[in-house]
């Protein structure tokens, strides 16, 4: 019964795989009920999400955004804060980048412009998370509640800003103007032409760097140690001289900044304008990714790619199989989170029974 009795490969490889398989099995059942062949469908899905290079490009493109929102939620969780507001912070981050670009894209050269816009995204995302952080630290308002509220507020605010101020004259689409090309993030297909016409851009590389920095900062630095201590036992952290309010505020700033960074990929790497509701739920998916990836860099990376693949592959599949609406993959996402993120020990008894038998 005890997980500790199992060898490491069983707990860290076999069990997650079994869980993933279980989720996919349920999904296959649903696809069958919808009147399609599950095996064929899964084949199409895997092919278009992973095997086909252009599809893989899209998978990684979506993953880049999710890595950032996943990191945003994860770092807050390390400090014991449940930041539900990554969605809103990402939305504001998009505004930060856009304001910089609208002001400067015709004056600054690209190598200055892009970092400046990224800084804008980080700043706006960070500040949007700062307020809930400050209120938690100084006024004791629950960060869960305030960040939910701030999501709603950001939707209203962004709606107002975009519709009333950013729509260029003569346009009716609720979006800013398209940025000058110097502000477009370099695409990876210029180095890897095999990727074809995918929006995959350097923000994926940035995301990988962010994962590494996150891993080092949380597990290898004194700051990360204080962060985790505060998250696990605030009383002990206070005893240890760690300033709780400072930890909360700084963590929320960073969490918001990472959420802001998540906006860079879609806004500067793909659409090249700020559109209404562009985060499209990426902030919420970040919660799922942080939880499923256990706030560990490798876990975050893998779950981000998994979610990216589901979005890309599922979309292609629903193109080919009109009976399978794209929403099916939202359902499958939920199943995967449920099986891999919340029932991680489902197969532990079975596996330990197997090992016990072998021992005897």
């Amino acid at each position: 019964m005890n997980q500790a009795d199992l060898p490491r490969w069983a707990t860290s490889v076999a069990m997650p795989l079994l869980n993933l398989l279980s989720a996919l099995l349920v999904a296959a059942g649903v696809i069958y009920l919808l009147g399609e062949n599950p095996a064929e469908s899964m084949g199409i899905l895997i092919n278009s999400a992973v095997l086909n290079p252009e599809g893989l490009g899209y998978t990684l493109f979506y993953a880049a955004t999710f890595i950032f929102t996943g990191l945003s939620v994860s770092i807050a969780m390390q400090a014991g804060l449940f930041n539900i507001g990554s969605e809103g912070q990402m939305y504001l981050g998009g505004l930060g980048a856009t304001l910089v670009l609208l002001a400067l894209d015709h004056t600054l050269p690209g190598w200055l412009l892009i970092p400046a816009a990224i800084a804008g995204a980080v700043l706006f995302g960070g500040l949007w998370a700062f307020v809930p952080g400050y209120l938690q630290a100084k006024r004791g308002s629950h960060v869960v509640v305030t960040t939910i509220m701030f999501n709603f507020i950001s939707a209203s605010l962004m709606n107002y800003v975009i519709v009333s101020h950013l729509i260029p004259d003569g346009e009716q689409s609720p979006a800013s103007r398209v940025f000058a090309e110097s502000a477009w993030l370099p695409k990876l297909n210029s180095i890897l032409p095999v990727l074809g016409e995918t929006p995959l851009n350097i923000s994926f590389v940035l995301a990988l760097v962010a994962l590494v920095i996150y891993g080092i900062a949380v597990w290898r630095t004194s700051w990360g140690y204080q962060l985790r201590a505060a998250g696990l036992n605030p009383h002990a952290a206070h005893y240890a001289g760690i300033s709780i309010s400072k930890t909360i505020i700084v963590t929320m700033l960073i969490s918001g900044g990472l959420a802001g960074l998540a906006a860079v990929n879609p806004v500067m790497g793909s659409t090249h304008y700020l559109g209404l509701n562009f985060p499209a739920g990426a902030g919420f998916i970040g919660i799922a990714i942080a939880l499923m990836g256990r706030q560990h860099p490798v876990g975050i990376l893998l779950s981000s790619i998994l979610f990216g693949a589901l979005i890309q592959g599922g979309f292609d599949l629903s193109l080919e199989k009109p009976n399978i609406p794209p929403e099916t993959f939202i359902f499958i996402q939920g199943l995967i989170i449920l099986f891999c993120g919340a029932m991680e020990n489902l197969y532990a008894p079975v596996l330990s029974a197997m090992f016990k038998r072998k021992d005897k």
Binding site: H142, P325, E327, I337, L338, A342
Partner: protein
Amino acid sequence: MFDDFQFASILVSTVRNAPVLIFAAMAGLFAERSGVVDLALEGKMLAAAFVSAAVGFATQNPWLGIAAGIAVSAAIALLQGFVSITQKGNQLVAGIALNIALSGLTFVLAQFFFMQGGRTPDLGAARLSTIVLPGAEAVAGVPVIGWIYSSLLSGHTILTYLAFALIPLVHWVIYHTRFGLRLRAVGENPHAADAAGVNVELTRFMAMLTAGVLCSLSGAYLSVVQSGFFLRDMSAGNGYLALTALVFGNWRPVYTALGCLMFGFFAALQVQIEGVVFPVIGKVPGSLIQMIPYVVTVVVLAGLMAKSVAPKAIGQPFVKSR
């Protein structure tokens, strides 16, 4: 300037808005007082809204629809219980996962059965009818009292009355029954409850079951009462708002209900002041007015309220070990 501003209308609207939140928040209250974080209110609402509408339509009987909604929502709550209590999984993950899964599944099923883009057909006559309280017409003319009786109190569906009746009922169950005592103990200190001979897992499961039933009424209210059909994602964040009301109300039934009413009130207020020309600032854009309920919540939480204290064992699976 406030010629259009009708307080009476706001109150009526508040009463109409509140049940969705009250049912969901009371559901959350049972789950969370027992120590299980219930982020899946949204998902259960959606599932119940869909099933109630679909079965209600198929049978042309709203009651059968609501009953089916209750059964499904309760089953989901038990699944959530299995994951969070038996499997001792992460309760937040379980909640979010269920929300995502059900958002997708309700659409897929609705599309599969009705082919209307994830919408169920109109219930038409198969909706709950409103109840006109006896004598409501007669006293309608009496100033104030007549209005309160005939417009504010009369003319709602049975679910609305049930929602308001639930407030004292939940209070009674939580504070004055054996189930409530065990529930609170299990959410506060499961080890103590266990040592006192209370079956922690059973108690939590019963709490989840109650939560499932109550939450289904919130969904049924959305589809069978308010809209007359199911539409994808029609819970529109109300599950999260209900959780906010719960935190706001310190996990106590009456205060939580007040939180729900506050949301209902500000939602109604916001409707009324959209387009009103204010002195000095003039006409505030609608999108900014939409923020009002949320800004008020933040301000109230930050300013007026004492720190809210969650049940101590919330979110932690009960493991007999150090």
